[in-house]
């Protein structure tokens, strides 16, 4: 059985397309402000996109296409009126796989986080023998569907019109596991914390050097720094002298936390520099901004000596902006 996947990413540049076998590259990850989908941000050492791709490969998906959705929020673009660049890119991808003789198309919108077992989903789809199977959590559709590609062959008109006809016959698989909607910055921190505390399947990517503390490759931690688990220090990150990294914190790859700074219950997004002697608590920090989880506000710090881009980072990183702009935060 030949399986291919089409992954759509919220935000980002609409209709922008990349195909397998490459996973999201560091270059793609370091996009411009607002153009970077949050699915490309590292969370506990790996992006949601790369984690999804790894799980898809495990069920034998031969190839995949990643499409940026822009403002569209549909997994199956059947309601869209005038075709936009996302719909055009989606149609093109479906056509490619249908013409290549793929049997099953796995459609995933990398938005909400779930611990879905794709193998179990595939098994269910084959058992019920429906043209489309969708995953639901209660009455809420999750952004995952399996589509029998053979039903789209010899379709007249667009694939989305054909899909609209098939959707009446869709079957549901009820998912009982962990779901995080990733609808607000607070949800993102909740996912980080749940991953650190083992409440979901989002495991830190690094070595557990002692209980509840994971460290990525080439992370440098000064011997005078105090770390209390659960905590994660990502690949290539630097933690300066006399820093305190307290429980519930994730410092992602290539971050630099300067001397004497305390980070507690916070998510420091990749490539971020945090200046000396600061106190970061209950916050998401990225590029030049800080989102305070309790006050529910984003503060542009605007001083690279306080919070900025880490010297190690290869390029400008969109950081917090994409989280905030993608999901309206109450002021």
């Amino acid at each position: 059985m030949r399986i291919a996947a089409i992954l759509s990413l919220p935000d980002g540049n609409q209709g922008e397309e990349s195909t397998s076998p490459a996973k999201s590259t560091p270059h793609a990850r370091l996009g411009g402000l607002g153009g970077t989908s949050f699915a490309r941000f590292d969370i506990l050492g790996q992006s949601l996109l790369d984690r999804t791709l790894t799980r898809i490969e495990q069920i034998g998906a031969l190839s995949h296409t990643v499409i940026s959705q822009g403002k569209s929020t549909e997994l199956l673009p059947v309601r869209s009126g005038t075709p936009n660049s996302f719909v055009t890119a989606w149609e093109k991808s479906v056509a490619k796989y249908v013409n290549d003789g793929v049997d099953l198309l796995l459609l995933v919108r990398v938005a909400a986080y779930t611990d879905i077992d794709f193998a179990q989903f595939l098994k269910f789809h084959l058992e019920v023998n429906s043209p489309i199977t969708r995953l639901y959590a209660g009455e809420t559709p999750l952004d995952v569907a399996l589509l029998d590609a053979s039903r789209l062959r010899n379709a007249e008109g667009s694939y989305r019109h054909k899909l609209r006809a098939l959707i009446q016959q869709q079957r549901r698989l009820d998912y009982q596991g962990y779901v995080n909607p990733l609808a607000t910055p607070v949800d993102f921190y909740t996912l980080v914390e749940d991953g650190l505390r083992g409440r979901c399947g989002l495991h830190p990517v690094g070595q557990e050097t002692r209980q509840w503390f994971w460290q990525g490759r080439d992370a440098e931690i000064d011997s005078s720094a105090v770390i209390t688990g659960p905590a994660f220090i990502g690949e290539g990150a630097q933690i300066g002298a006399c820093c305190t990294i307290a429980a519930g914190s994730s410092i992602e790859r290539n971050c630099e936390v300067d001397c004497g700074t305390t980070v507690e219950e916070s998510w420091v997004m990749q490539d971020t520099y945090i200046g000396a002697a600061l106190d970061v608590r209950r916050a998401i920090v990225g590029h030049d901004s800080l989102f305070h989880l309790d006050r529910n506000i984003e503060v542009k710090v605007g001083d690279p000596d306080l919070i900025g881009t880490a010297p190690k980072s290869a390029a400008f990183f969109g950081g917090l902006g994409s989280l905030i702009w993608g999901h309206e935060a109450a002021g």
Partner: protein, 128 residues
Amino acid sequence: METMSAIVVKLPEVFGAKAARKLGRELKNKVTITAPHIVIDFSRVKKIDLKGLEALLSCMEEVVKQDGAVQFGGMSPEAATLLELTRMNRLFEKFPGFAADAPAFELSPELVSEEERVEGSVQVPVTA
């Protein structure tokens, strides 16, 4: 109960180098009494950079030299976040508190008449 004057300093939305210099000048002119009481109003502040923080430290230093006290007036969530980030809130907490007459805070007019509205200060009565 002794009544004395407090100086209310209303900081601008962006408290950077330029505004910091102006605050320094203003305070030099205004803080002429011994044991001055300064109320810093952060209610409009959205952004403070290192120069702004340095100016606040200088202000505190001057006040301490003259045996005075500094306390917060209004506080925007952005300013609260920035002061916590830089641990400046803890420094402010070191000063002994003083009570200001409530109506005086409501006045909080701005004396800024220069080219930009960077900060205002006004003397108001307080009880010590």
